[in-house]
Symmetry: C2
Subunit: 190 residues, 2 copies
């Protein structure tokens, strides 16, 4: 028998992505977002959902661009830090000892030290209650060669991204390999 927990944002897994933008003065800013995901294959698009109160919100609206930098679990402290202070008050990247790199495709910076980066051009905004979805077309994916497998595809076991749990508000790493998609279920198809 299932138990009711009420209307809450309890879904798993969620990411802990770093959204990179420039402010009005051209200062690079980053913030952590767990409300994000892929939302279209063609063209390839992601979204991040942000509150209007965030510094990043205005930055994206003005520049029509953002990046998503995905940290490895080694940088979980920095990832958390980017979610607890505001870019209005601090230069977060400097404070964390990390390096902004200007994207050559969109008007936004990414985090040099993080192994996978999506460069996004804002194509849609959708307000839903407290949050606004910023849908970005992925113009390019840039990676550190060290996270690629022998077929030149990102390997999650090398990337080691951070998984965020709403509710308990904790971070976990990636665990054991479970199987190949679009394959292991075929046995059930008979």
């Amino acid at each position: 028998m299932k138990e009711s927990l009420g209307a809450k944002t309890l879904a798993f897994p969620t990411p802990a992505w770093i959204v990179g933008t420039y402010d009005e003065d051209g200062k690079p800013n980053v913030m952590t977002a767990a409300w994000g995901g892929i939302c279209c294959s063609k063209p390839p698009c992601v979204y991040v959902s942000l509150r209007q109160a965030t510094y990043t919100y205005g930055n994206i609206v003005r520049r029509k661009a953002y990046t998503v930098s995905i940290a490895s679990e080694a940088n979980v402290k920095e990832t958390d830090y980017f979610g607890v202070v505001s870019g209005r008050d601090v230069d977060k990247l400097s404070a964390a000892g990390l390096t902004p790199v200007k994207s050559d495709l969109v008007d936004a910076p990414y985090v040099k030290e993080f192994p996978l980066v999506l460069e996004c051009r804002l194509i849609r905004m959708l307000g839903v209650g407290l949050h606004t979805l910023f849908v970005g077309e992925i113009m390019d994916v840039k990676v550190d060669p060290s996270i690629l497998d022998e077929k030149h595809v990102p390997d999650i076991e090398k990337l080691r991204p951070i998984i965020y749990s709403p509710g308990k508000q904790v971070y976990h790493g990636v665990g054991k390999y479970l199987g190949q998609a679009f394959s292991m279920g075929k046995k059930l198809a008979g």
Copy 2:
């Protein structure tokens, strides 16, 4: 030096969620979706992005409702199966030996055997290229008591949700605890 992989849907982690709907005849259907996430805190909302070609697409449009059932890694084969066949051709839940339960809040079924369920009322649709985002307000979260911690909050280490990797198209489980959010980064804030 980062390497360019082109414009692709390579983001990590993504979920492997089971979207539950009723078809025109009231037959329960489920499909697997990796393009999904939380998109608003207030009201609590999720989205799933689906191609118009899916059987689920028409079901959601007609019934204005869907559920998200989150499987444990023990059900990874069933999760994959729900993504490789169409509800037009098969009763997937029967074929997988799983049980549909009618939500008491929205006009959609969920998977009884899966430990966490979101019951969603469709509140927005946003077309983006090949996919449409179905934004659902979470009316309730229902869980098996076995996945709750001592504070009555879902524990990802007990839920053991599946993580999907685009690109390599593989599934992984959840790994080791990395730390407490909104806390471990504060040291960097000085």
